[in-house]
């Protein structure tokens, strides 16, 4: 994911427009639908920062407000289908933005956070003082390495969980409505299915990248279980080419497992 962090004036105007719908609580469900639509458009072009800003325009109590407003108006607790789908979509957006941000944090920690190894210098360790200084630096370096490894492990775990949150989104999957609307918004449906095809394969590859780079090769191979499962049907969002690419990546992890004297799936060879 090459995150696009630019937020143009036009983007800004769209994001700020949500403010107008947030003043009056009775407009909150409309505000959520509009915010969702704006986020769909941003996410489609990977403008994750803009999407996050749009997400944050909605006060955190919005789901409560929508329930309360509906209850005030009709006296029932059962939301209309399009409102409950909108709430679900909003949760999907949150899960996705969390996963992407977590991955970006992992990415910069992995690539930029690694402490630099102290260099010996071209003239070698000539004097006693140089040697002492180098030893000191090495010790410091090892401590920093240990710290870095620790935070990388933490970040890997969080990122893995968050990406799985998206991949395994409960009750039907990410950006899939839980209930069918009688009066279906076809544009919205098409956008959601395109977003699935665009982002789910990429997320799977990112997840593989995270696990592989963190040397969790067996976990990296087991991604196949989730993608192939009939329950989640993630494989349907892959085209032939991206499946081939994924299998290539998985077999890369398998080769690393072979180097560790295990079988290609990470089990002891019997």
């Amino acid at each position: 994911l090459a995150p696009d962090v630019t937020v143009t004036a036009e983007d800004r105007a769209k994001i700020d427009a949500i403010d107008w719908l947030v003043f009056d609580e009775s407009h909150r469900s409309e505000a959520m639908k509009q915010a969702n639509a704006i986020m769909r458009a941003f996410i489609a072009v990977k403008k994750h920062l803009a999407a996050r800003q749009a997400f944050e325009k909605l006060p955190t109590d919005s789901i409560d407000v929508i329930y309360r407003q509906w209850h005030l108006q009709t006296g029932t607790g059962e939301l209309p289908v399009e409102d409950s789908n909108a709430i679900r979509e909003y949760m999907c957006m949150k899960a996705y933005l969390d996963a992407v941000e977590s991955f970006n944090d992992w990415f910069s920690l992995y690539h930029q956070g690694r402490p630099a190894k102290p260099s010996v210098g071209s003239e070698g360790v000539a004097s006693f003082t140089d040697r002492v200084a180098l030893e000191h630096k090495m010790k410091q370096y090892q401590m920093e390495m240990e710290r870095w490894r620790h935070s990388l492990r933490q970040q890997t775990r969080v990122t893995k969980d968050r990406i799985y949150n998206v991949l395994l989104f409960a009750d039907g999957g990410w950006l899939v409505d839980a209930e069918e609307e009688t009066d279906m918004d076809e544009v919205r449906q098409r956008q959601m299915s395109q977003l699935r095809k665009l982002h789910l394969p990429a997320l799977c590859l990112n997840l593989h990248n995270v696990l592989h780079s963190s040397e969790m090769y067996a976990d990296a191979v087991q991604i196949a279980d989730v993608i192939a499962s009939e329950h989640h049907q993630l494989y349907q969002d892959f085209d032939t080419e991206s499946l081939q690419h994924l299998l290539g990546q998985i077999s890369r992890s398998s080769r690393c497992l072979l180097d560790e004297n295990k079988d290609p799936l990470g089990y002891e060879v019997v």
């Binding site: 191979v221 087991q222 196949a224 993608i227 009939e230 290539g248 998985i250 799936l265 019997v270």
Partner: protein, 236 residues
């Protein structure tokens, strides 16, 4: 090289080679045959099946030729799922680690679902066991599957105590029995005629020998069967 990789001891490597060559159909076949012979680790079998499925889907121009094998893989994955859904306590009761199970055969799985080892078994477990019968049909034929079917229903009966029946409303107490709850579940799926054995063969099972002596039990079963027959003939 392909010949070398097909030799028995290195067979588990060939799919890597095929994926590397871009030959996904061959990888698909190699992986599913590996999955078929995997007995030691359930999770390994699952991953082999999953990889095989993905490789099949990644193969170009093969949609039709692999349709059947993909379906077979889905059936196998379903079987894996049934084993994963065993309560971990039950798995421990038979001395296995729930996190690291070996592969159970469909027969073993059926027996375990309805066994005393599955302490909190209810009608859903009985139903799962019945669902699993189709795997036995395929591999062993009718006789064994008929025997297992009787065994499942006998066990469903034995999961309840039949002596404390409410004497005033005997047919109400029947409703609470796992056996009849299972009958309801199977009936809803329209499978009752295929799956429910006739009363006489059930009552003559060795497993029920003791219970079949009790008049109360026989009375409830006859009454229940009568209702079932009525429901079935009304539906037809």
């Amino acid at each position: 090289l392909s010949d070398f990789l097909n030799a028995d001891n290195v067979r588990y490597l060939s799919w890597l080679h095929e994926v590397g060559r871009g030959n996904f159909l061959a990888a698909h076949n190699a992986l599913s045959s590996l999955a078929g012979s995997e007995r030691n680790f359930l999770s390994k079998k699952k991953t082999l099946l999953s990889l095989s499925k993905l490789a099949g889907l990644a193969a170009e121009n093969a949609e039709e030729s692999i349709q059947d094998t993909i379906e077979a893989i889905n059936e196998e994955l379903d079987l894996v799922l049934h084993q994963e859904q065993l309560p971990s306590k039950t798995v421990e009761n038979v001395g296995m680690d729930p996190e690291n199970m070996r592969v159970l055969s469909p027969e073993e799985l059926i027996k375990l679902y309805v066994s005393e080892k599955n302490e909190f078994a209810n009608e859903l477990d009985v139903k799962k066991a019945l669902d699993l019968l189709r795997y036995v049909d395929k591999s062993h034929g009718m006789k064994e599957s008929e025997e297992l079917k009787l065994h499942i229903w006998c066990r469903a009966i034995l999961m309840d105590s039949w002596s404390d029946a409410n004497q005033a409303e005997p047919l109400d107490s029947k409703r609470e029995k796992i056996f009849f709850k299972t009958v309801d579940l199977v009936y809803m799926e329209g499978e009752l005629e295929n799956l429910l054995p006739d009363l006489d063969s059930l009552l003559s099972c060795a497993e029920l020998q003791e219970l079949s002596q009790q008049a109360n039990f026989r009375f409830l079963m006859r009454g229940g069967y009568e209702q079932i027959q009525n429901a079935l003939s009304a539906a037809n």
